[in-house]
């Protein structure tokens, strides 16, 4: 039974001011209702003024997704009553969107490249934010700081075939938007998704209100299971709108009223139409993820996997290019494998890591001043101080303080001899041809030297010591 998924993605555009007024968009750490003016509060008599940059950003996306920009586009009012919507209509675009018919390339579940078609993109304003008071209060609290933040709505065709594909599509889209410099995915609530999902031959269900990347896959996976179970029990899937409850990982039916919406769209009489098709040719697109991935492989000689990982996030790719000069291959491994793993473990972003310090760490590794194992220890130390909000200590200082410099040969010959003496059984086993025994002895030496010796070199020395019967 084929799964069919289409997405409507709302992303906040990273402009300095709101879509229709000069209020700053940088509201996240501020008091409620402090980023408001007569326009975004919907005070009587206030009129909207369109932010040119939001249109430019929308067109940048249109060009990157290879879309057509119609000769004329227009804003319209979407009328509905909700306390977070100060004018009781949302200014959006309806039958004359900014751009139509584009594509995004992703990998399908078998790892093959496939195209997801983009139906349209359009500009609209974000509503305010409702806070529900805990403890059974009858009222809600409204903060209009978010009201009027520019949103780009991106609508896909139903071209995705699994929740995993949908997640990959979103990651890809996010990367493209970040590369274009129009979106900051680290801002809380900067992306919201409505997903349409159906099983082939069944009714379609719309899941609204998904506000994270992981949430999309979770919500869709829940829906696939729920819908399959219904069909298995001989029941039908009802065509309906459902809400995703992020915390519980489930979707619940939105009741009738919400589905009867008649939005009574009509052209916004306070704004003039747009004729911006001619702007597209003037837009210089930055290097996009696919191009950058190919360049990384050619310029730095790194693997496809490393290049894909490193370019899959704009900030990560920028970081890599800042540190690659030390040794591109070494840097690729250390950024894509070691650093990313350590960051994920700590739930940290790449932005928290000072590239200069990381460069110094790579230099220590390249000059073999420290071993890989010691490098990991130094890195962990660095990240822990960063996470605590303290200035990052130079790696060389950590090495000195913790005594992590690579052990000299004489230093570890001594330890080797001590370990061999203390583990006669292992020595016996090694001599009997059990290879695991050698690893065990090497591990013991590593432990004694706290990672300051290189395991390969150690293996050689341990083997020589036993073979020459030094003990």
């Amino acid at each position: 039974m084929k799964t069919i998924v289409g997405l409507e993605i709302h992303v906040q555009l990273a402009t300095a001011t709101k879509l229709f007024c000069g209020c700053s968009t940088d509201y996240r750490d501020d008091e409620p209702n402090t980023h408001c003016c007569p326009v975004c509060l919907g005070l009587p008599g206030a009129l909207p003024r369109l932010n040119r940059k939001a249109v430019e950003y929308g067109l940048r996306v249109a060009k990157a997704l290879d879309m057509k920009v119609p000769e004329e586009s227009e804003f319209a009012r979407k009328n509905y009553f909700y306390p977070d919507l100060p004018k009781a209509y949302q200014v959006t675009q309806y039958d004359k969107p900014l751009a139509v018919e584009g594509t995004v390339e992703i990998e399908d579940d078998e790892g093959h490249e496939k195209i997801v078609r983009i139906t349209r993109v359009h500009l609209e304003e974000d509503p305010g934010r409702l806070v529900h008071v805990a403890g059974g209060s009858k009222y809600s609290l409204v903060d209009y700081n978010r009201s009027g933040i520019p949103l780009l709505e991106i609508v896909t065709e139903p071209d995705m075939r699994s929740p995993q594909e949908a997640r990959r599509f979103l990651n890809k889209l996010r990367t493209i938007l970040e590369y274009l410099g129009v979106f900051d995915g680290d801002r809380e609530g900067s992306l919201r998704v409505d997903a349409n999902i159906s099983l082939e031959g069944s009714e379609r269900v719309e899941v609204k209100n998904i506000s994270s990347y992981k949430g999309v896959e979770k919500a869709l996976t829940f829906e696939v299971t729920r819908q399959k179970n219904l069909l298995r029990r001989g029941q039908k899937v009802t065509r309906e709108t459902r809400h995703f409850m992020e915390g519980r990982g489930i979707t619940t039916s939105a009741r009738g009223k919400e589905e009867e919406h008649d939005y009574r769209y009509f052209p916004e009489p306070d704004l003039r139409p747009l004729r911006v098709a001619g702007w597209v040719a003037e837009i210089d697109l930055p290097e996009l993820p696919v191009a950058r991935k190919n360049r990384f492989m050619a310029q730095y000689g790194i693997s496809l996997n490393h290049a894909r990982t490193l370019t899959g996030d704009l900030k990560l790719a920028d970081f890599y290019e800042e540190v690659a000069h030390v040794d591109p291959a070494l840097a690729a491994t250390w950024v894509a494998d070691t650093l990313l793993g350590e960051l994920n473990y700590r739930n940290m972003g790449i932005a928290a890591v000072p590239a200069e310090r990381f460069t110094e760490l790579l230099a220590l590794l390249r000059s073999k001043t420290i071993t890989d194992a010691a490098g990991v220890q130094v890195l962990r130390e660095m990240l822990d101080t960063c996470a605590a909000g303290k200035p990052c200590e130079p790696p060389a200082a950590i090495v000195d303080r913790e005594g992590l410099a690579r052990a000299t040969e004489s230093e570890f010959t001594e330890v080797v001899e001590k370990v061999i003496a203390a583990n006669p059984q292992a020595v016996e086993d090694y001599r009997a041809g059990k290879n695991g025994a050698l690893n065990y002895i090497v591990g013991q030496v590593m432990k004694e030297t706290r990672g300051r010796a290189d395991p390969r070199e150690l293996g050689r020395i341990v083997a020589e010591s036993i073979d020459t019967g030094g003990v």
């Binding site: 009858k138 009574r264 306070d270």
Partner: protein, 433 residues
């Protein structure tokens, strides 16, 4: 020269909703001139109600662009004038603050919706006032009260701060006892404001001249047809004769789209209004909504209680005209009709420089006379075409019928407000002399 203006009128005609007993003013071209402002134009620090209980107590935190300009010009803003609730009426009887009476005859309506502004001028409380005109709301009361009222070209005066009734149709404009004063007030308020995206940078800087020799006046048959009181028609024809006597020539023109004008107008204005008036929910301003009820219940109750019947009727009409299944038949068709009317006027203005006709089909109604909504709507038939076409139109007093004033309406090409002002001025100078 700066100071305060002491203002305490004997307001027997209920022209004002709010008066400012001491109104400050500064230096400028209107220094010390008392100006009344219609109560749908935002005034910082002064209650602005739109004639509705749903905005009772609302004090805007900002000035409309025109109010800023008035203050800068030295005018003393002495009060906010009564109006049909949200501008929805032709008599000023739908105001939540009681009807305004016509100073010419207190048993008659002053016209609407800017009836308070017209009455304040006609009663002599102020020499000039601001009104707003969505479908005739400046010209109708000007005609009924015997004063001058100009609806500017759409996009000539900023709507920033005007509480919207029907955005695509309405303009703020001057009302005064003389054409010259109306023109002076127009010079102050017609200044570019980037906050109104539908505006053009075409400031009005004009002193009227009475020379109209060679002016071609179009006289459309549709303005003298069925429904127009023959005595009103005759009075207006006489006035056009006066203009001919001053060297103008008349040419017959036709606006065939007139037969659709009123229906198109009411579909468009109620559609836009249904959206514009949805924001009055008692949350951010206005009498507080009951937060113990659920949202829809509280919202419906508030709107039922605080909106008048005509407002609710028009909101429902507009909602219907935009609703799924009906928008094509009503809203979309009305837009086509609007386009046709606009083209009719463009065609007529190839043969004529201005177009003349009566402002209103009749003289002022008695209070309570128009109790049926449709018959009230029908009285707007001669004023709505200028709003649909976005062209300037002025009403200037041109005589009386049964002792009640009649208005001569002069319409011009877009952004030729100066020309209709000149023609009105020429007429006024001639009949006064």
């Amino acid at each position: 020269m700066a100071g305060t203006f002491d203002f305490s009128p004997d307001d027997r005609c209920n022209a004002f909703i709010t008066t400012c007993s001491t109104a400050p003013f500064t230096d400028g071209p209107l220094a010390g001139t008392a100006v009344a402002v219609k109560d749908n134009i935002s005034t910082a620090g002064i209650q602005t109600t739109c004639g509705s209980r749903i905005l009772e107590g609302y004090v805007p935190p900002y000035d409309a662009h025109v109010v800023e300009l008035l203050r800068n010009a030295g005018a003393a803003i002495v009060g906010k004038t009564n109006m049909d609730e949200f501008g929805m009426g032709t008599t000023t009887e739908t105001s939540a603050f009681g009807p305004t009476r016509n100073p010419v005859d207190p048993e008659r309506v002053p016209g609407g919706s800017s009836g308070g502004s017209a009455a304040a001028v006609a009663a002599g409380f102020v020499p000039m006032a601001l009104g707003t005109d969505t479908g005739g709301s400046i010209r109708c009361p000007a005609a009924f009260c015997g004063i001058v009222g100009l609806k500017p070209t759409y996009g000539r005066v900023s709507r920033y701060g005007l509480i919207a009734y029907a955005n695509s149709l309405e303009q703020i404009g001057p009302m005064a006892r003389t054409v010259e004063d109306a023109s002076r007030l127009m010079s102050v308020i017609a200044r570019y404001d980037p906050r109104d995206s539908t505006m053009l940078d075409k400031p009005y800087d004009h002193g009227p001249t009475a020379d109209i020799a060679g002016l071609r006046i179009g006289v459309p048959e549709e303005y003298f047809g069925e429904g127009v009181d023959p005595r009103v028609a005759e009075t207006v024809r006489d006035a056009i004769g006066v203009l001919e006597g001053l060297g103008a020539e008349t040419v017959p023109v036709s606006i065939p789209g007139m037969r659709h004008a009123l229906a198109a107008y009411y579909v468009i204005c109620t559609s836009e209004a249904s959206s514009n008036l949805a924001r009055f929910d008692g949350v951010r301003y206005g009498p507080a909504v009951d937060t113990r009820k659920t949202w829809h219940e509280a919202y419906q109750d508030l709107r039922q209680e605080l909106f008048g019947t005509e407002v609710r009727r028009r909101i429902m009409l507009g909602t219907f005209a935009l609703s799924a299944g009906y928008a094509g038949r009503y809203y979309a068709k009305a837009q086509v009709a609007r386009r046709n009317i606009r083209e009719d006027f463009e065609r007529a203005f190839r043969d004529a420089d201005i177009i003349a006709g009566p402002t209103m089909p009749t003289v002022a109604f008695r209070l309570g006379e128009k109790s049926d909504p449709l018959s009230m709507y029908l009285s707007d038939i001669l004023t709505v075409p200028a709003n649909l076409a976005g062209i300037p139109a002025i009403s200037v007093p041109c005589g009386r019928v049964d002792g009640l004033p009649v208005g001569l309406q002069l319409m011009g090409r877009q952004f030729e407000d100066e020309r209709v002002v000149d023609a009105a001025f020429a007429y006024e100078q001639e009949v006064r002399a």
